[in-house]
Symmetry: C2
Subunit: 260 residues, 2 copies
């Protein structure tokens, strides 16, 4: 949808996915897309359709999701940020706004993404992390899990690590970086950066790594799963509340900007 003479805006947004039914508009409850479109429509005075870099599932968080939308209103980037944040519930925030070229599309212009997956490794749950990290408990072999990540690097067919229903036909993706780091005692962060990700791919990697860390599988199991091209060989999809969309990469462009 392009409005005649409309400007295209790129927004970077953050959200707590806990209380939303994912990204995409649904009849049965609030979604990020619907809440954002409603706020922008109020601000711009006409119906708005936002296009995201990709969907996030129910419970998945975003620290820097990127969307674009067209508006015929005369709103400045700064007004979109301030006005949008005043209307939006506190569980969503517009971090920055920038006028973009007409052909900028949050999904198709994306060059890559970084996802983070958080595990909580203490014996007993932390009530403050219930909607923030997957409580996997102690005694996982984190070094072995880290070693397995090397198998992800490069261009590979990730068919075995994705759920059916991906939006694209090819299941080949390029992963540039994958690491596990420690944040505070007992909080482990899996970070993966790549050209793109299939449906449930990061969560399936997180779930398979968890079984490898429990030493229930062979030490280089992630490689065996990838080689097999067989989804049945992978571990379960890890729960959504540990997953964060951390960054989306684009070619830089110039345009009136309101970014901190």
């Amino acid at each position: 949808m392009t409005l005649d003479g409309a400007r295209n805006f790129k927004l970077t947004i953050a959200y707590d996915g806990t209380l939303f039914l994912g990204w995409q508009r649904q009849a049965i409850g609030p979604t990020i897309q619907q809440t954002l479109e409603d706020a922008l429509a109020k601000l711009c005075g006409h119906e708005i359709t936002v296009f995201a870099s990709g969907r996030t599932d129910t419970g998945v968080h975003a620290q820097a999701q990127v969307v674009n939308f067209f508006t015929s209103s005369s709103r400045t980037p700064s007004e979109l940020v301030k006005g949008g944040n005043a209307i939006l519930p506190k569980t969503i925030a517009i971090l920055s706004a920038q006028e973009a070229p007409e052909d900028f599309n949050a999904r198709y212009s994306a060059k890559g993404k970084t996802y983070a997956y958080y595990y909580y490794a203490a014996k007993i749950r932390d009530p403050l992390l219930i909607t923030r990290a997957w409580h996997v408990g102690p005694n996982l072999d984190w070094a072995l899990m880290e070693e397995n990540l090397s198998h992800l690097i490069g261009s590979r067919d990730f068919k075995s690590l994705a759920s059916k229903g991906s939006e694209t036909k090819s299941t080949i993706r390029t992963i540039w970086q994958a690491h596990i780091t420690s944040r505070e005692e007992n909080i482990k962060k899996l970070t993966i950066t790549g050209s793109g990700f299939l449906r449930h791919m990061v969560r399936t990697i997180a779930g398979t790594l968890h079984l490898i860390g429990r030493k229930r599988l062979s030490p280089d199991y992630l490689n065996l799963v990838l080689d097999s091209l067989d989804r049945a060989k992978a571990g379960p999809v890890a729960p959504p509340h540990g997953l964060y969309l951390e960054k989306v990469f684009y070619q830089p462009f110039s345009g009136q900007n309101d970014a901190p």
Copy 2:
């Protein structure tokens, strides 16, 4: 309330205060005390009264609140931890249990406490910190705030930094340590350790420091407030969701233990 032949247990618990109406049992909604007492009663087979080191207000979190209770049941510390955590909602956790001397009382035996108060200093709110830190925005003079903390150290009359309704008559308390540290970009942590705290004392300190950081007051304002003994001179009570009860100190004792 002491039951004949009953054993006294010390529990260390954590909770997300967001969805509770504070500590103390109330008719109008769920509280930590009520939820914990109900879970322990189910586990022990008789009514339970728990005594906390102190109350926490609605929205205030605890990383290590301490309580004690008496039971005539034969539950072991390990059963209390595992069984309690299975019954409790995920927003509360029992971190450890220990059999305590009969005269151990979570409130009166406490030798001191550490509270933390979290500020979020970015320009735009973080949806993932809405119930976790006070969003104060940028441009606060954190060094000046840290300097003011020196006035808290030692034994002083904290009357001007407390709300009415403290449980004790004397308003003299001893503060051993007070610091502001950085945790990640834009997350500032105020940590205060002392012999005890008056009602709303940490939140009033946090609220007064915030005004000092905004440079709306004289540079050593915290000292002036303390000297004045006048509550009207202090800043507003900072919001509850930034406050965490981090630790309660006791004389060690020996007793059957289930602590990670």
